[in-house]
């Protein structure tokens, strides 16, 4: 199996789906001739031409709106927000229209739209190029939010998102783009949206997280194993709606749960995960549910020392995991 990077998995999935289905097209800022600022759509313009790889104006509400309209008309658009931070002007389109069309029209209409957006920090990108925005959308029924951690999951889940008949927000960690590599089969496959995945089996502590933090947890677990601490790691993969069953199972497995997110702590995805666990697992819990997350400040700072303070990293994760194991 070829080993490719996280971003190559994105490109691969797009390419395969565009070859597979004429209705699939991409649109976004600089996705065409330039191949995307991160090069996620590299080569698509050459292969599929300007009719299926659309460079749009700098107007995110239009990117989302055009996508919604085309989707309702029967197309399968994949819209790109250049940075997740820029999605804000499109919130009305996404939340008020895309998420609600099926419900509002009593199933007459639906929106098979995928919106891709790079999120996350640790790239010295400062305020408007580092945010995690998933929590903003995560109480909007009608939307699905997918945040894969590995190249394998990226390809399988992006393909599943494109084939989904309802809108999916597909958030890609921009630091993972070239940092994370993994084996990805050339064959066509999809992975189920709404299913979490056990990335590591263990018996002392349970880590539930998503995105880049999965790798931090895996690294820390590797280290802690030498000290005799066995970590069970659940990758949410889809952060909305949550895979309650897997969360409950993972929490019950060890009774000691650490939830990790790069996003601000309060009101984040992991807060909801915590609520699910406390609703369902009281008698299996052996420690308070711990949350490790970014501080509650407005955004990722620019100064390197401050960014390091905000950003999640393997050391912070390892420390929290050890603390929980020792409880």
């Amino acid at each position: 199996m070829p080993v490719i990077s996280y971003i190559q998995a994105v490109t691969k999935a797009l390419k395969e789906e565009m070859r597979n289905d004429d209705k699939v097209f991409v649109l976004g800022e600089d996705v065409g001739v330039r191949g995307g600022v991160f090069r996620a759509t590299d080569g698509l313009y050459e292969e599929f031409g300007e009719d299926r790889v659309l460079d749009t104006p700098l107007a995110e509400s239009a990117i989302a709106g055009v996508g919604i309209g085309a989707a309702m008309y029967g197309m399968r658009p994949v819209a790109e927000m250049q940075f997740a931070d820029f999605i804000m002007p499109a919130v009305n389109q996404i939340v008020s229209e895309a998420a609600k069309v099926r419900y509002r029209s009593n199933n007459d209409w639906n929106v098979p739209l995928t919106i891709r957006a790079p999120y996350g920090g640790g790239v010295h990108g400062a305020l408007y190029h580092s945010q995690s925005v998933e929590a903003l959308f995560a109480n909007t029924p009608g939307l699905k939010i997918v945040m894969p951690s590995t190249p394998y999951d990226v390809k399988g889940l992006l393909k599943a998102s494109i084939r989904s008949n309802d809108p999916v927000l597909f958030f890609e960690h921009k630091r993972a783009y070239r940092l994370i590599k993994g084996e990805v089969p050339d064959e066509d496959y999809t992975l189920p949206i709404g299913k979490a995945d056990v990335k590591r089996e263990g018996s002392d502590i349970t880590i539930i997280t998503y995105g880049l933090c999965v790798h931090f947890a895996l690294q820390a677990a590797e280290k802690l194993e030498q000290e005799g601490i066995s970590a069970h790691i659940l990758d949410l993969r889809t952060v909305y709606p949550l895979d309650k069953e897997s969360i409950i199972e993972a929490a019950k497995k060890t009774g000691k749960v650490l939830l990790i997110s790069e996003d601000n702590k309060e009101g984040g995805i992991i807060s909801e995960v915590s609520a699910i666990i406390s609703e369902n697992c009281l008698f299996d819990l052996d420690s308070p549910i711990e949350r490790l997350a970014g501080p509650d400040v407005p955004a990722m700072p620019y100064a390197p020392s401050m960014e390091k303070h905000f950003m999640m990293n393997p050391d912070k994760v390892e420390k929290a995991m050890r603390k929980l194991a020792e409880f």
Binding site: G255, F283, D284
Partner: protein, 418 residues
Amino acid sequence: MPVEKINMPQLGESVTEGTISSWLVKPGDTVEKYDPIAEVMTDKVNAEVPSSFSGTITELEVEEGETVSVGDLICYIEIEGKEEDSTEEKASAPVEETPVPSGEETAKEKPRFSPAVLTLASKHGIDLNDVEGTGRGGRITRKDVERFVAEGSHSQPSKAEKKESGTTQTAEKQPSQKKSEETVLESGDKEIPVTGVRKAIASNMVTSTTEIPHAWMMVEVDVTNLVALREKLKNKFKQEEGFSLTYFAFFVKAVAQALKEFPELNSQWAGDKIIQKKDINLNIAVAKENELFVPVIRDADEKSIKGIAKSVHTLATKARQGKLTSDDMQGGTFTVNNTGSFGSVQSMGVINHPQAAILQVESIVKKPVYMDGMFGARDMVNLCLSLDHRILDGLIAGNFLQKVKENLEAYADDTSVY
């Protein structure tokens, strides 16, 4: 010459307060540093409080017998001249010198268990005192319990024995769990975890029987008239009211009336006093499968027989549906138990702690009885009374039973249930 404060020292890790049992100094006395100035009694140790300074005691702030928190001021001392180093040693010095039992016991004083640990312990009938904790501060983790279970029960009895000879207070508190350590499970035996209501019953029963010196007496009552009366009324009553007119309602009424006359029975033991309750709130026992509830009929003495029958009906229905509220269960002052409904003709009730007595109404049985110069078939019933002998004596209890008997035998053809 500066005046310094001497505070209550920390006598052991978990000790938060102590009682000054006696002062060893009085104002004006001169003491050397480390001289004992007072004897202190805590729930852990008896110790002497050493002076933190050399000087003259000026004022005692705490009376003998008074209990003060750790860190509170207990007296003032005037220090002679050259004190530079004394301030830093204020009050904290005596910690090591006091005979604190042992670190292990201190840690075990206030163990905190996670829900997972408690769940596992109750599932497997484990006494957590036997489990060694490997978590932070010796906390018992879920894994510790799992390991303990996995290691098998063979190591359990020996530890349990050791434990029992050492301390007894935990055994007293959890009598219901002790049993499982001694019994051996054979194949095919079924283990039923003791939880919820069963556990509460077990614990209450042990409290009652260990704390209350029970005495017992029984009277036989002729309820032939009552039986006739009820036979006459029951169908019409059921039609009109929608619930049954039970014998039990008549008995409860008769007991409530008698309690009004003998309030001694309607009282509680409270250590140094007996509390006579004004309200007559009767607990009645209601069984639901393997659970037993004792909900309360409030102000039973103010209710008609119909009113009581209705209360009994409501409470029994609620119990069966699992809808009894804590309000329904609280405030009982005396218990009437309808043991006759199980066919019993004689029983020794366990008093519903902290009440003074419990009355068991047995089955009504037809018997040949010699009266008015001949034998006749009469409906007879036994009333069994268990009483707290600290509160009640045979005489008063006997009089009370006689009163109940009178009330019951006074039911006649013309008695109104309304």
